[in-house]
C-alpha cells in the first residue's frame, strides 16, 4: 500500500487548489478523482458573494453577515483574501485574474443579466462598465446568442447592439465553445474575425465575445483582438463546456505536474480504513481494480449533488459517497418549494464541519467546496468563491497542523 501525506479527493476548483497549495508547502499529495471536475462546467469567475439576499457591492464586508453555518464562517475574510491572493498569483503567467474582495464587478451573462462577481479573468474584466457594447456572436455557436444579450443589456441601461458572424471553423455548422476556442488559437482565424469587425465598430464601443477566445493561449488571442480592434475586449461565458474553466484546469493541473503530484482519474473513492477518529487509508476503485491508499490526511472535495459527491435516494436519504460522512440539512417534510426561484429548503444540505473544516468524528479529514453544508451557491453566487477559499484553507490548516488549530485562527 502506498502512503501519502495527503489524499485529495476531487479535481474541481477546491481539490485542485488544495492539492497545489499543499504541494507547494512541501506535502506529498495524491489526487484521486472520478474524472475532470466542475471547472469544465463553471465559468470560473470567482463569485465570492453576489446576493445576500439583495445585490452585494462589497463582498468582503458582506461575508460578516453570513450565518455561523455558512462555509465562509470557517474561513473568515482574511482567509478568503489569502486564497484569492494565492490563486491570482498562481494564474498570473498563463491566465491572469483581476479584482478583489472590496468591490463586486458586474459582468453581463449570456442572457444579459449583470452578475456580481469578485475576481475574474482579465479577458472578462472589461465587461464591467457603462460604455456601449458591441456583442459579437457566431451563427455556428448555438450556446451564445448575441442579439438576446445586447437587447437585455440595453434595457439594463448599457447601450448595446449585436453582430453575428458566419464563420464556420472546420467547415461545420454546429461547433461548441471548445471548437471555437481551438479556432481562435489559430492566428489566421482571429485575424479574419478582426477583419470582419473592424469597419463595423462604433467610436466608444467595448467589444464582447463569447468566452471562446483561445484555449492553448487565451491571453494571446484576447491580446490580438484588443490590438486589432483598438477597443476594450471582453469575454462572456457560454453554456458548458466552459472554456475559461478548462483554462483554469489546465494551469492548475500543470502546476501539480511540476510539483510532482500524482493525479489519478477514473478513481472512485468508496470507503476508508479508520482507527479511532482517524482515517488511515482510503479505498478506491481504479478502473476495475480495488486499490487502498494510505494517508495522514484527507481533503474531501468531491463536489455536491451536482457533481455526484452527494446523493439523495428515492426514500430521501442523503449520502456522502466517498467516505460515508453524515449529511445534514435535508428537511424531513418540505424539501422543495413550488416556486422555482424561491429559496429551496434542500439547498443548504451537505456535510457540516467545524471551524477546521472537519466533519463530526473525524480528526484528519477536511472537507472543501460544494460538499459543504450551509451555502446556496447558485442563488447567492458564491460557488467558486467557496471552493477556492475552503480548498485553500484546508491546505493551510494541514500545513500548519504542527501547531494545533485554535478557534482564534479561524475567525
Amino acid at each position: 500500500m502506498s502512503h501519502h501525506d495527503v489524499i485529495v479527493v476531487g479535481t474541481g476548483l477546491a481539490g485542485l487548489t488544495a492539492a497545489a497549495r499543499l504541494a507547494e508547502g512541501g506535502a506529498r499529495v495524491l489526487v484521486l478523482a472520478k474524472g475532470v471536475g466542475a471547472t469544465h462546467l463553471s465559468p470560473c469567475t470567482i463569485d465570492v458573494l453576489g446576493y445576500a439576499p439583495d445585490r452585494v457591492s462589497d463582498p468582503g464586508a458582506a461575508l460578516a453577515g453570513l450565518g455561523e453555518d455558512h462555509p465562509y464562517a470557517a474561513v473568515g475574510r482574511d482567509g478568503v483574501a489569502a486564497a484569492i491572493g494565492w490563486f491570482t498569483d498562481a494564474m498570473r503567467d498563463r491566465y491572469p485574474y483581476t479584482g478583489g474582495l472590496d468591490r463586486n464587478l458586474l459582468l453581463p451573462t449570456a442572457v444579459g443579466a449583470l452578475k456580481p462577481t469578485a475576481v475574474v479573468p482579465e479577458t472578462m474584466a472589461a465587461g464591467d462598465g457603462s460604455d456601449p457594447v458591441l456583442v459579437v456572436g457566431f451563427t455556428a455557436l448555438k450556446d451564445f446568442h448575441a442579439p438576446l444579450l445586447a437587447d437585455n443589456l440595453s434595457r439594463a441601461g448599457i447601450a448595446a447592439r449585436a453582430v453575428e458572424l458566419g464563420l464556420v471553423p472546420e467547415g461545420r455548422v454546429d461547433v461548441n465553445s471548445l471548437g471555437f476556442a481551438r479556432a481562435f488559437d489559430d492566428p489566421a482565424f482571429r485575424a479574419e474575425v478582426a477583419a470582419q469587425l473592424v469597419a463595423r465598430l462604433g467610436a466608444d464601443e467595448r467589444v464582447a465575445f463569447p468566452a471562446v477566445l483561445g484555449i492553448a493561449d487565451a491571453p494571446a488571442a484576447w491580446g490580438t483582438l484588443r490590438e486589432r480592434l483598438a477597443r476594450p475586449v471582453f469575454e462572456v461565458p457560454t453554456l458548458p463546456p466552459s472554456v475559461p474553466g478548462m483554462r483554469v484546469f489546465a494551469v492548475l493541473r500543470e502546476r501539480l505536474r511540476r510539483a510532482g503530484v500524482r493525479v489519478i482519474l477514473n478513481a472512485v473513492v468508496g470507503g476508508a480504513e479508520r482507527a479511532g477518529g482517524r482515517v488511515s487509508a482510503v479505498r478506491a476503485r481504479v478502473g476495475l481494480r480495488e486499490v487502498t491508499y494510505g494517508c495522514d490526511w484527507v481533503v474531501l472535495a468531491s463536489g455536491g449533488f451536482a457533481s455526484g459527491g452527494l446523493e439523495l435516494d428515492s426514500r430521501w436519504k442523503a449520502r456522502e459517497r466517498a467516505l460515508g460522512l453524515p449529511v445534514t440539512g435535508v428537511p424531513t417534510d418540505e424539501r422543495f418549494r413550488a416556486d422555482y426561484f424561491a429559496e429551496q429548503p434542500m439547498a443548504r444540505a451537505g456535510v457540516a464541519v467545524d471551524r477546521d473544516l472537519r466533519p463530526e468524528g473525524h480528526e484528519n479529514v477536511l472537507v472543501a467546496g460544494a460538499t459543504l453544508a450551509g451555502a446556496q451557491p447558485w442563488r447567492e453566487k458564491s460557488g467558486d468563491g467557496i471552493s477556492l477559499a475552503t480548498g485553500h484553507r484546508a491546505a493551510e490548516l494541514i500545513l500548519g497542523a504542527a501547531v494545533p488549530s485554535e478557534p482564534a485562527r479561524a475567525a
Binding site: 444579459g112 449583470l114 438576446l148 446523493e311
Partner: protein, 521 residues
C-alpha cells in the same frame, strides 16, 4: 366586437375536440375550434400514452373493452405515425390473485380480444426487467400513442379542410337565443380581445371542464367528476412492451414504454377542481412502490418528471340522483348528452366521459348526434381517412427520429440533443405556430422533455425565438422564466438520485451562469 360565423363551434382542443373538428371538416361542415390554452394542454397531453387493447376493461367494464378492441385497430390504420406497436403484457404479480387470470382470459374471449397465455420464462425473456416472481403472463395488442402528435395531426387535417383552430381563445359565455345555443363569446387570452362566434351548432368537447361550459347555457345538474391521476416518466425504456398488472384496475398498475421513456400510472382521486391538481410526495412514494412491484429496482431508476391529469368522469344528477363515491367505479365509456331531451336546449351537445383510445368513436358519436338533430345525412369517414403526416401507413418506430437526424447531422445545428430537434424544425415550428411561448414549442416538438429537462436547449430556443423576431427582450425573459417555473412543477416532487443531480446542474446554468432571475424586465 369582431365576429365570426361558422356551421359548427367545437369547444375544447384536446383529443376529443380535435377529433370532432377533423370529423366535422371531413363531413363538409365549416368548423371553428376554440381552446382556452394550447392544443392538448389539458387531459390529453397529461396521460400515460397507452393505446388500450381493451384488456384492462374486459372483466370490469365490458362495453369499454369492446370499444377499445375496435378503436385500437382503426387508429393503427388511420394515424399509424402516432402509434408504436409495442404490444402488451398482463402479468400476475406475487401480490395478485392468479384466479383473476381466468376471468381475464374469459373476458378477452368474449370481447374478441386476441390474447395468449405465455410461460413466465418466455415473458421474462421478452422483458428481462420484469419481476421474476410473476405467476402468469398474457399477451395483448396494446401500443403507445403520442397524444400531442395525434391532436396536432387531427387539427392540421381539419385546418387543411378549412377549419379554423383558435388556441388561447377561452369561452366566456354561450350565446343562447330562445331554446337554442347559437355560438359563444370568446376571449383571446393573449390579447384580451373578445370575439363573437356565431354557430349553427355548438359541440362541447371540453372534457373535465364540460360542466363549466354547460352552466353557461343555464343548464344545471350536469356534473363531471375530475378524477385525478398522477404519472411519472422514467428515463429510459425500462420495458419495451406495455406491462399491465393482471388484476382489477388499481393504482400504479400500468407501465408504458413511449418514445425514449417509460411512464408509470396512475392513480384515481376525486378532485374538487380540474385546475387544482397538485402532486403530493405521498402519491409519488406510493407510485414508486407500485413500480417496484412490476420492475424490481424501479426506485433506483431515474425519474424525469411527474404530472397529473384529470379524467372527465361524467355524472348526471338527473339520471343517477347521487354522486359516485369512488371514481374508479365510474364507467370509462363515453356518452353524448342530448340537451334537447334533457334540458330543452337545442343545437348544443356535450361529450362526456371517454378516453383517448376511443377519441375517434367519441367524435363520430357526437357528430352523428348533431347530424340527426340537424336532419342532415352526412356519413362519417374517419374510419378510413388519414390526417396529414400519416400517409405512409407505417407505425412509428423508436429509431425513426434518429434516422432522420443522422441524414442531416453535418448540415444543421442540433438544438435539443435529448430529443434530437434540429434548428430548422424549431424555427419552422415557431413560425408556423406564431407562438411566443416556449411551453407551446415544447408540446409541439418535445423540446426540453428529455433527461436534461431543457437545461441546454431552453437558452438556445430563447435565443432563437428572439433572433427570428418572435420575442423582444422582455418577452424572451418572461418566456424563459415561465418555462423554468412550469418545468419545476413537474420536477420537484421526484427530485432524487440522478434527476436531482441534473436539476442541480440546471440550477448551475440558469442561476449560477446566466442569472436568469436578475435579467431585466
Amino acid at each position: 366586437m369582431a365576429s365570426l360565423e361558422t356551421d359548427v363551434l367545437v369547444i375544447g382542443g384536446g383529443a376529443t375536440g380535435a377529433g370532432v373538428a377533423w370529423d366535422c371538416a371531413l363531413r363538409g361542415f365549416d368548423t371553428i375550434l376554440v381552446d382556452r390554452a394550447d392544443l392538448a394542454e389539458g387531459t390529453s397531453g397529461r396521460f400515460h400514452g397507452l393505446l388500450h387493447s381493451g384488456g384492462r376493461y374486459v372483466v370490469k367494464d365490458p362495453v369499454a373493452a369492446d370499444e377499445c378492441v375496435a378503436e385500437n385497430a382503426i387508429l393503427r390504420r388511420v394515424i399509424p405515425d402516432c402509434i408504436e406497436d409495442t404490444g402488451g403484457l398482463f402479468v400476475v404479480t406475487p401480490d395478485d390473485d392468479p384466479a383473476y387470470g381466468d376471468a381475464f382470459l374469459e373476458g378477452c374471449r368474449r370481447a374478441n380480444l386476441p390474447t395468449e397465455e405465455i410461460g413466465v420464462g418466455e415473458a421474462l425473456k421478452l422483458e428481462p426487467r420484469l419481476n421474476p416472481g410473476i405467476k402468469r403472463a398474457f399477451t395483448v395488442p396494446d401500443g403507445s400513442i403520442d397524444a400531442w402528435k395525434t391532436v396536432w395531426a387531427l387539427a392540421r387535417g381539419a385546418s387543411a379542410r378549412g377549419a379554423r383552430i383558435l388556441t388561447y381563445h377561452k369561452v366566456v359565455d354561450l350565446k343562447v337565443e330562445g331554446d337554442a345555443v347559437v355560438g359563444a363569446r370568446v376571449r383571446n387570452e393573449l390579447t384580451g380581445e373578445e370575439l363573437d362566434v356565431g354557430a349553427r351548432f355548438t359541440l362541447n368537447a371540453s372534457g373535465a371542464w364540460a360542466a363549466q361550459i354547460v352552466k353557461m347555457a343555464g343548464i344545471e345538474g350536469v356534473g363531471v367528476i375530475p378524477g385525478k391521476g398522477i404519472m411519472i416518466a422514467m428515463n429510459h425504456r425500462l420495458v419495451n412492451t406495455v406491462v399491465n398488472r393482471c388484476t382489477m384496475p388499481a393504482d400504479g398498475d400500468i407501465l408504458v414504454p413511449i418514445r425514449t421513456v417509460s411512464v408509470i400510472g396512475t392513480t384515481d382521486i376525486r378532485a374538487a377542481d380540474p385546475d387544482e391538481i397538485p402532486v403530493t410526495q405521498d402519491e409519488v412514494d406510493a407510485m414508486l412502490d407500485d413500480g417496484e412491484r412490476l420492475v424490481p429496482g424501479f426506485r433506483d431508476a431515474r425519474a424525469l418528471r411527474v404530472w397529473a391529469g384529470v379524467r372527465p368522469l361524467f355524472q348526471d344528477e338527473k339520471a343517477s340522483g347521487q354522486a359516485a363515491a369512488d371514481t374508479r367505479d365510474v364507467s370509462r365509456t363515453h356518452a353524448v348528452v342530448d340537451h334537447v331531451e334533457r334540458d330543452g336546449v337545442g343545437r348544443f351537445l356535450t361529450m362526456s366521459g371517454g378516453k383517448l383510445t376511443t377519441l375517434r368513436l367519441m367524435a363520430q358519436d357526437l357528430v352523428d348526434a348533431m347530424c340527426r338533430q340537424l336532419g342532415e345525412d352526412r356519413p362519417c369517414t374517419t374510419t378510413t381517412a388519414r390526417p396529414p403526416d400519416n400517409d405512409d401507413g407505417q407505425l412509428y418506430s423508436l429509431g425513426a427520429r434518429l434516422r432522420r437526424r443522422e441524414a442531416t447531422l453535418q448540415e444543421e445545428q442540433l438544438i435539443c440533443e435529448c430529443e434530437l430537434i434540429g434548428r430548422t424544425r424549431l424555427e419552422e415550428t415557431m413560425r408556423r405556430r406564431g407562438t411566443t411561448n416556449l411551453d407551446d414549442v415544447r408540446r409541439s416538438l418535445r423540446l426540453g422533455m428529455g433527461p436534461c429537462q431543457g437545461g441546454f436547449c431552453i437558452y438556445r430556443a430563447t435565443g432563437i425565438l428572439h433572433g427570428v423576431g418572435r420575442l423582444d427582450g422582455p418577452e424572451a425573459s418572461a418566456s424563459l422564466r415561465g418555462f423554468l417555473q412550469e418545468r419545476w412543477k413537474g420536477m420537484w416532487p421526484i427530485l432524487y438520485g440522478d434527476q436531482l443531480r441534473q436539476a442541480r446542474l440546471d440550477d448551475w446554468i440558469f442561476q449560477g451562469l446566466l442569472d436568469v432571475e436578475h435579467v431585466p424586465g
